[in-house]
């Protein structure tokens, strides 16, 4: 039985094995798209940012050792940097893709629906790990961007209970490798 390779092993292997990077991409494309879809209104723009994120990761993977942080944190640090860069410059940079000679991705209406479906899957697949109470609290706090007091008021409980639910939910997500709280 072949053991599933860790994220770090996939990145290291991608130097000689191109499909290893494809496998790494398969694991996280949904979550990266979900990360950008929460921030931009346009699915095509979210794909554009995701593409530049993975291209940047590919271009800089030699600098990843896995000693300082897990691969998923490294990837989302790149995603966050691309987002900050895009907002500051007013456009999504294409430097990494240009350097790698990547072709643009053609996007039509059908493709836009695919992007949204994959982004939704990426966000939801993690939430299945949580209890109903934790999931509601995390969604209200981190997806709907609502305050603790407001959530507590609506759910008829105290603010400290909501904070605990969110905290435990995030801890579960972190242990699953999502590093959710680091994205905000």
């Amino acid at each position: 039985v072949r053991r599933e390779r860790s994220d770090g092993e996939l990145i290291a292997a991608s130097v000689d094995d191109a499909d290893a990077f494809g496998e790494f991409y398969d694991r996280y494309v949904g979550r990266v798209l979900a990360f950008f879809r929460r921030r931009v209104h346009d699915p095509e723009l979210a794909l554009d940012l995701a593409a530049e994120t993975f291209a940047s990761a590919l271009a800089s993977r030699s600098g990843f050792t896995g000693e300082e942080q897990p691969a998923v944190a490294w990837l989302f640090a790149i995603a966050h940097a691309r987002w900050v860069d895009a907002v500051r410059r007013g456009r999504v940079e294409d430097r990494a893709r240009r350097t790698l000679g990547m072709e643009p991705i053609i996007v039509d209406d059908e493709a836009l629906a695919v992007i949204d479906r994959v982004a939704a899957t990426g966000a939801l697949e993690l939430l299945k790990l949580l209890s109903d109470e934790q999931r509601d609290a995390v969604l209200a706090r981190h997806i709907e961007d609502r305050g603790y007091g407001e959530i507590a008021c609506e759910l008829g409980t105290s603010e400290s209970v909501i904070r605990k639910r969110v905290s435990r939910g995030l801890r579960t997500l972190r242990s699953a490798g999502s590093r959710w709280s680091d994205h905000d």
Partner: protein, 266 residues
């Protein structure tokens, strides 16, 4: 079937292969004798040409031209009074959040303590208030268009107030080219200067947001919006100057016009 996720994977894997080949060639070349001064110049020149010509991916813009300013009313904003408060409200479909801008106009003070306050709402990107090029607005360019202070502000002479714009396009743009809610959906009459001839078509349900905003009275801890279906609560932050904003999707559950009630809890 069009699958951009698969297409991106294919491009990334192909790029990884090219990188591996390039790396192997570079490694082999390093074992050979290094080129002379002229040779190195040729290598650098070729690398620059590859970078300049090889890339075919165009950078995607986020910002489009700003919304054209309208006529200045009430003398425009008083210097230093324009504030985009920190309040951010997520859109039901994701993307740029919604926000509130407040300012004090130069004119409009008829008596001490009766100062006008003007409030605008819109989408927010990079601490800028704006609208989106979608739902027919700005030829659906998908870009963010910064909103000038005029002419879309609601100005009210009161310490607190609630405004019910009703259903508005998700783009936050009400004007030329944008889709328009049907009159039964808005529950309000169009504002002056916004005749129906400016609109391109009727908005679909997915393109509409139910917006309620205002300034809560001093000492308010929670603002509660009750619809005929459910209730929503918001807690204005210390720097929000009492501003509140609710943005709901058009689920089709609310009657037309919407029945809304805003209450303030100290």
């Amino acid at each position: 079937m069009t699958d951009p996720i698969h297409d991106l994977r294919r491009e990334l894997v192909a790029a990884t292969r090219r990188e591996a080949t390039r790396s192997a060639q570079a490694s082999a070349a390093s074992r050979r004798r290094l080129p002379g001064r002229f040779g190195r110049r040729v290598v650098v020149l070729v690398a620059v040409l590859v970078l300049a010509c090889g890339g075919v991916v165009a950078a995607t813009q986020l910002f489009g031209p700003p919304v054209r300013p309208g006529p200045v009313v009430l003398g425009g904003p008083r210097s230093g009074s324009v504030v985009l408060v920190p309040l951010r409200v997520a859109d039901p479909s994701g993307g740029y959040p919604w926000g509130i801008r407040i300012y004090t106009p130069r004119r409009g003070r008829s008596a001490p303590g009766a100062q006008l306050t003007c409030v605008q709402f819109g989408r927010v990107l990079d601490d800028r208030l704006g609208v989106l090029g979608e739902d027919g607005a700005f030829a659906n360019d998908g870009l963010f268009h910064e909103l000038p202070v005029e002419p879309t502000a609601d100005c009210v002479r009161a310490a607190s107030f609630t405004s019910y714009p009703g259903y508005v396009p998700a783009s936050a743009f009400i004007g030329h080219g944008a889709c328009t809610p049907t009159p039964t959906r808005t529950g309000v009459t169009p504002r002056a200067g916004r005749r129906s001839t400016h609109y391109s078509r009727t908005c679909t349900t997915a393109e509409l947001r139910l917006v309620v905003f205002g300034i809560a009275p001093s000492g308010t801890r929670f603002v509660r919006l009750s619809t005929s279906v459910r209730a929503f609560t918001q807690k204005p932050g210390p720097a929000d100057r009492g501003a509140f904003l609710f943005v709901l999707s058009d689920s089709g559950e609310n009657p037309r016009p919407p029945q809304l009630r805003v209450t303030f809890q100290p």
